[in-house]
């Protein structure tokens, strides 16, 4: 007998007490929890995102659409970056005002090469206000998972309010599980040493979020 059949057989015998007409999933799980916590205006939801991001030591910046290129250039400058990874589908105007060397996100490049790049600029799939979370789904303006992992400085641009959802339930219903998803809440951190929080172990030590107004 294969182990598959063995295990499934054990499971079935173990569940002999469960009636065949047991309550179906839809009725067995009552979802009396909230879709969103609190009743906020759209502007207040964006503010909450900014607060919760900052609370987790992300550096939060806000700007109008017309100022985005200057903001991004300023952040790369301030960080002293000489090079930046750029996802294939990133809006070219975001980097229009920086002189920093651009490194394209290409499948053939080694991780060691990526390790030598200073910064990465990406968009996101959406952001969750209640938890201060950015979600990347590998879309054209976000690139491969590794580009937001290996470089030490990540600048993530969030269009507000369009890309902001209030809560985790609202986020999941907008995401496609077939895509590889990375949820980011603040920079890499550890509390393994006497529970003292230290930012930056393996992921980027600096996470900067630019909330750009859409109009």
């Amino acid at each position: 007998m294969s182990s598959r059949d063995l295990i499934l057989g054990r499971v079935r015998r173990a569940l002999a007490d469960v009636p065949r007409n047991d309550t179906p999933y839809e009725q067995a799980v009552q979802r009396e929890y909230r879709r969103e916590h609190g009743d906020r205006s759209t502007a207040r939801t964006v503010d909450l995102l900014a607060e919760n991001l900052a609370d987790y030591r992300a550096l939060v910046h806000r700007c109008a659409a017309g100022d985005l290129a200057r903001t991004v250039a300023g952040l790369l400058d301030a960080h002293g970056s000489a090079s930046v990874v750029v996802p294939a589908g990133l809006d070219g105007t975001w980097l229009a005002e920086t002189e920093v060397t651009r490194v394209p996100d290409r499948a053939e490049d080694t991780t060691a090469a990526l390790d030598r790049v200073d910064s990465v600029v990406t968009g996101c799939a959406l952001a969750i206000a209640e938890t201060g979370t950015l979600v990347l789904d590998g879309g054209p303006d976000q690139g491969r998972r590794r580009i937001t992992l290996v470089p030490d400085h990540h600048i993530c641009v969030v269009r507000v309010p369009g890309q902001v959802v209030a809560s985790v339930p609202q986020a999941l219903e907008r995401l496609d599980p077939a895509r590889p998803l990375t949820w980011i809440s603040g920079p890499s951190a550890t509390s393994d040493i006497e529970l003292d929080r230290v930012e930056g172990v393996h992921g980027p030590r600096t996470l900067e979020v630019v909330l750009v107004s859409e109009e």
Binding site: Y56, R144, T190
Partner: protein
């Protein structure tokens, strides 16, 4: 069955040793109290916590009650997404499968993201025996691995080590495994974390094979999910060409939407954060055009005692556990005894009910574990999937003391009563230890009305002989531990 820490003394002896170690106790106390206080704040932010907890319980219960169906569906979804599913009835088989998969890649090194399941089956040792080096990449696991030590907490496995000890371990051991610790390494957490970053980065960048567990597997979509903080998980899940995930069958949930419950309750219960810094979700392999992440994905579904646990109608609720570790941090016995005393990768209250079910109660340590509790009920109160740990403890005690039907490796067996034998003696000592340390119990919340229903008409374990001849006193206001304190299970009748 592997996973037992070989040569472990039974809980009471192990606990007594830990209680006598002031450094350990200090580290533990600091840690559990800090996390406990933070967790309460994080949970209080959500005014629908009770509803989330109930939904989490219902999702897990429903899945467990139809686990055969959901496992088959999971297998189909993972396969359709380009993954390969393997089934392992026990630890040996799981290890054999993983060793075979790694060998097939031709590699002799793997990077690992922290996983309870791989610890449970002793995978690192099995790989080592096959000439494959497995590097733990979670900072705490690295500390444990370099220190040739055992984890002592689900969430913070090196909770028993302070910064001075960690510095010592890094300075002494890192060079044996790869990049040495920097000269003049101090004991500041930032410097220690930086040393780990440099040491491990070498390994991440050259790793061809990654091994992980998973917090959840979605039957509907074939999605696996790992939550973490440091980014080492992302490294292991993203950079290697081959990813092997070793996961207990109970980690299944039916639908994508179900994650909305656990992504709210797990981080807040475990690290007391609104959300952990990183969560990765992947569904099979990404199509080759995108070349994003591992090109080969294997999922090893592990039974190793889970179906036996499932067969116990009272005990099966332990399989709801999402390994948040909240119950450890509130447990007065864990706080004093430390994780090592439980002799298993699952310490604390959940370990006390899970290990003896996964492994059976054949050994003295497993037979003593259901007694490693004051039944104060605090673990149930904090559990985000509402596992009634005290209920299962009492059930297991009764089973050990009075015998009864159990399932072992899929077969029904009858457990003999442990009277006068090792288990009961262990139980006696455990109970005497726990209830002889009122300080260890005072911190627990008093839940008199709740504990009342845990008073069976005849007492299991040490009190059985006494209670067999008379009805238990009605105990409206007296928790079990107080009763024990007063009467020592009938040994010293109160004056």
């Amino acid at each position: 069955m592997s996973g037992t820490f070989v040569g472990m003394p039974a809980f009471p002896e192990a606990a007594r040793e830990a209680v006598g170690n002031p450094t350990l106790r200090g580290n533990l106390r600091h840690a559990t109290h800090t996390i406990r206080a933070k967790r309460a704040v994080a949970v209080s932010e959500l005014d629908d916590w009770a509803a989330l907890r109930e939904a989490g319980k219902q999702i897990k219960d429903h899945t467990l009650r139809h686990l055969d169906r959901y496992l088959v569906q999971l297998e189909e979804s993972v396969t359709a997404a380009g993954g390969v599913v393997h089934w392992a009835a026990d630890a040996d088989e799981a290890n054999r499968i993983v060793v075979g998969l790694v060998r097939a890649t031709g590699e002799s090194e793997v990077v690992k993201v922290k996983s309870m399941a791989t610890q449970e089956i002793g995978l690192n040792e099995a790989l080592e025996a096959a000439g494959i080096h497995a590097y733990e990449t979670d900072l705490a696991e690295l500390i444990v691995q370099l220190g040739k030590d055992r984890p002592s907490h689900i969430l913070v496995p090196a909770i028993h080590r302070n910064r001075g000890e960690i510095r010592e371990i890094f300075a002494r051991e890192m060079s044996e495994w790869g990049r040495p610790a920097p000269e003049n390494l101090t004991d500041t957490p930032a410097e220690l974390a930086e040393a780990a970053r440099l040491h491990l980065r070498e390994k991440f960048l050259r790793a061809k094979v990654g091994i992980s567990g998973a917090n959840f597997m979605v039957a509907e979509t074939g999605t696996l999910m790992v939550v973490e903080s440091e980014g080492n998980g992302r490294m292991c899940l993203t950079l290697p060409e081959t990813l092997i995930s070793v996961v207990g069958i109970e980690k299944t949930v039916p639908t994508w939407r179900d994650l909305e419950v656990f992504l709210q309750t797990l981080p807040r219960s475990s690290t007391a954060e609104r959300m952990n810094p990183y969560t990765s979700m992947w569904t099979g392999t990404t199509d080759s055009g995108a070349a994003d992440g591992p090109r080969t994905f294997h999922l090893v579904l592990v039974d190793n005692g889970r179906t036996d646990t499932l067969a116990d109608e009272v005990g099966r609720q332990a399989l709801r556990c999402i390994r948040c570790s909240a119950c450890l941090n509130v447990c007065p016995v864990y706080e004093r005894a430390g994780g090592h005393a439980y002799g298993s990768v699952y310490p604390g209250p959940i370990g006390a009910i899970l290990s003896p079910q996964l492994r059976g109660t054949g050994s003295e340590i497993d037979a003593s574990l259901p007694y490693a509790s004051s039944l104060c009920g605090a673990c149930y109160e904090v559990c985000p999937v509402a596992i009634d740990i005290p209920e299962v403890l009492v059930h297991l005690r009764e089973r050990i003391a009075e015998g009864g039907q159990v399932t072992r490796q899929g077969n029904k067996a009858v457990l003999k009563p442990a009277k006068g034998h090792a288990a009961e003696r262990a139980a006696m000592r455990a109970a005497r230890w726990a209830f002889g340390h009122p300080g260890a119990l005072r911190t627990g919340q008093r839940l008199a009305s709740r504990t009342r229903r845990f008073h069976p008409r005849t007492l299991p374990g040490p009190g059985r002989a006494w209670s067999a001849t008379r009805d238990l006193p009605a105990v409206p206001a007296e928790p079990f531990r107080d009763w024990w304190q007063r009467t020592r299970g009938g040994k010293d009748v109160p004056k």
